[in-house]
Assembly symmetry: C2
Homo-oligomer: 109 residues x 2
DNA sequence: ACGGTATTTCTAGAATGTTCGAAATAGTTC
DNA sequence: GAACTATTTCGAACATTCTAGAAATACCGT
């Protein structure tokens, strides 16, 4: 993942409303959640939700599938994984992990 | 870490200029890097750099120590770790990891 | 304290983001 | 195709962010 791609994805998650949306979708698991249910759950204006979902879908963190009149939203796990990996990679310089670096911290996890 | 704290940190990293700054600092490792050297390396206006550093320091992702007239900047690894852990935790609902979830993906890493 | 280097604050303009109501569109059912 | 539900687009108000030059401040050495 390129720096600019990572940045737009981090920025997408870096808004409290969008992070709430994303977290709710992650917790919804495999089945995802309809836009309408998301709106009811988060209690925000439909237009606001649509606006933020557009951002999340635009950067690839969320995907949508239609079921009748309702749109089901899903988290895109591989994309999130790529983003986290990008952050983890940044702790390594020329193959050696910086002291106190992140990869080291996650060896046990 | 609370959602709002995670959001402001993600937002801090979600700007290309700040992500470049942060990445440069991570790569600088333990010894960190002076503000002046950062400016020279990244080729941005001193005031712009100062502005972004203030943001990164403000959310706790970067710390600064003085050495004479120069300010040395360091990444705050535990904070970054906390942020990544926050993201990883979000894939788990009530103890069970969502299928295809992130923690699972990082078991081997 | 003076001169020099390092960094921040001030100021301001352009650009972008957030929010929501109202109107419009997409799809389903009858 | 009319009525209905689900979602998006439009429009607008308001706030925030990004950038950088100029001025101000902080620290050191002499």
């Amino acid at each position: 993942m390129k720096l600019d791609d990572a940045a737009v994805r981090l920025e997408a998650l870096g808004n409290p409303t969008r992070l709430r949306i994303y977290r709710t979708l992650v917790r919804a698991g495999e089945e995802g959640m309809a836009v309408g249910k998301l709106q009811e759950r988060l209690d925000i204006a439909a237009s606001t939700l649509s606006h933020h979902l557009k951002t999340l879908v635009g950067v690839g963190l969320v995907t949508q599938t239609r079921e009748g009149t309702t749109l089901i939203c899903h988290t895109n796990y591989p994309m999130m994984r790529g983003l986290i990996e990008y952050m983890l990679e940044e702790c390594c310089v020329e193959g050696t992990c910086a002291p106190g670096g992140l990869a080291k911290l996650f060896k046990a996890a």
